[in-house]
Symmetry: C4
Subunit: 229 residues, 4 copies
């Protein structure tokens, strides 16, 4: 049925521990098939080392399980919310990668201090507002998606392909789930470097706008010239 | 005799260096067979790479060696004390994992700053009081167990599945020794992230109680909905 | 054609992730054949795990592709600028290694605090001035080379085999590209140790000149006595 | 000739990068045969991955090469000085392990903050005084041994099995070179944890003397009860 989609989601999920972004069973990745209106996601609480492509759970955009024996990730409603809000994305990744999560816990954006960051994000990595008790008490994971969407209001999800959920951890997205994994790796890396830059220069300001634009546009948009063709 | 029990303890012990929680011969894990009143534990000072399931030492709850040629871990009386005090636990783990140990050495609890922490602990990771000279001079390892039990007084060991021994290092426990290993991994991870969060926000307060309750209960108790079945 | 040169560049490029200096597709290494006036460099945006010696792109000192199907690294003009300015170097390496990049982002030189640093650099690792908007807007990568050359003015590139580009990341060079890789490893290592030394002693001054000279000269110049032959 | 001695030194040397204590060709280990008055040491500047037992260089206590084609480590006179001053040691290890080196560069002892440290050292890890210009200009590596011996004056090398050379890096020793490697691993580990403990508690005092004595004596001396037999 959804063999290719499940393989794509599987490859993204197992890439997460390989990149050192995941401990234990934290985190999950999903890939969407837009024409069919379904996405494949990691099953809940399954160890990455035991995961197979067949274990992926296929869910539709109303949240119904369409294929798979296992329960989908408990974070499935967050993924679903993002797929509904951002029509151009093809994949979503959630990790608890340690440096990015440290910023999320502290409720601080990751400042944009250099070109590594500018290669991936067109500005700081933003933090959502804290969730309200009633949001936590009701459809918690769906509301997690809502605070992300609220934070992205008036922003282009392609300029800002990830966010920190306050007190929680990062989410990233992209045209494909493989690209969302790459962005999750980059976010963890720039969070690490930002922490050290702050230790060296506590009042460090952001990268100059010309340099930011140059690097972001080397890799994104019509004038991109990084990579092959 | 105790083949299954020894294998269970063995698997937990060798998981510790694999998770990066152990250097050299530091640390140990034990699994209990409640009906038979015995637990299997790592032998003292043996290198993890040379360990076999047969090397595990089986000890009864009076502290007598029941099976095994080697000396049990010098920390055996601490494990025994915990098995006696907490009747619902099935395993105990002791590591010197670096970030958690840094908090233990500083005598500071690991504050609960985010959902990663709340997935495992229903509050901060507590620190024991310092041990008194007479406790150190007498049955030191048994008394180490006593200060842990004292620190847990009026708390549910399931809400608080680990503690930092002041000036020393962490101990964790759980329904199985495999779960105690998982909690040791999580404690090291949240200690790492807490240190970085404190660097970013020195006056950071704890996670909001609603969010703590939500995450702890997603994984624990009657309403848990994380994982399979 | 340039089989040996391409192999040399290839070996240097794949050494970068093996030494932990590279995430994703960041960074690149190049080796020059001075008599023939060409250098081999990594193709742009290709994953290190998929790289082969044949993928290396051969470029001449006017910047024309001489051999290879793929686009050369977008940083090729920076490498070319350095090969033109420093006639004695045989290779150039660019990484975003995290600790060195943290200093680059903060715009701070890496102070020379110990003998590990003095084994490789005859002083602090310097930082370029920030690039001007018009430099960024025009031939950005060539101008990146220019600010490096400007920073090295009146210095011997053999005494100072690497630099931090402000807001960006490190570049290193050497008599061979293999030696430039070694210097990149050493720079990352001393950046890491310098950060920790600053945490322990925020006002720490540089190593004493006699000790610096002793260590640098143990490994460099006529009186060198480190190593074989 | 010295086949066993060379194998012992070889095993210790290759253990250093395996434990993450060594980058590039930094560091070296040596083992002594007291009855024959010779020690085997790593050759200078040879990559660890290419090292064989036959490459080890055998040197006598007057510093003459007795066996081996290669030049011995440039640090050989330091090892020789320590073997002469401390008649009970069987091996010496020198690394540039990053956390211990950070303390050495800062000129600060590693404070004894916990039991992990007390399992290996009977107090803080001390730092030598800075070397004088004339010591650096003359027999530098021999004089490096001299400042270590001076720092150990009136101390038992068994209580204090390692030291930080100011501005340089750690040296450790022990009854065997394998034990000196273990102590080098432990020193790096406690340096890492001490740095973090200082971040959490900048004014943290040393471990209480009773707890220090208990842990050091669990592993050392007549009353030791850690390990087998």
């Amino acid at each position: 049925m959804f063999k290719e989609l499940k393989r794509e989601a599987y490859e993204a999920n197992v890439a997460l521990p390989r990149h050192g972004l995941i401990n234990l069973t934290f985190g999950n990745a999903s890939a969407i098939d837009r024409p069919r209106g379904v996405f494949a996601i990691k099953p809940s609480g399954v160890d990455y080392s035991a995961l197979t492509p067949e274990d992926m759970v296929v869910v539709d955009l109303e949240g119904r399980r369409v294929e798979g024996r296992l329960n989908p990730s408990s974070d499935t409603p967050t993924h679903r919310r993002l797929f509904l809000a951002f029509p151009d994305i093809g994949g979503v990744v959630h990790t608890h990668s340690s440096h990015a999560t440290a910023f999320a816990q502290a409720g601080r954006p990751i400042p944009i201090f250099g070109t590594t960051h500018a290669d991936y994000f067109n500005g700081a990595v933003l933090v959502t507002r804290k969730m309200r008790p009633e949001e936590i008490a009701s459809a918690y994971e769906w509301e997690t998606g809502n605070v992300i969407v609220e934070r992205l209001q008036n922003l282009d999800p392609a300029d800002c392909p990830g966010v920190l959920v306050n007190r929680h951890a990062p989410f990233t997205w992209g045209p494909t789930v493989a690209k969302a994994v790459e962005t999750a790796v980059a976010m963890e890396c720039v969070a690490d470097m930002a922490l050290m830059s702050l230790a060296l220069a506590p009042d460090l300001g952001p990268i100059e706008p010309e340099l930011l634009a140059k690097h972001f546009k080397r890799k994104h948009g019509a004038g991109a010239y990084y990579g092959q063709a």
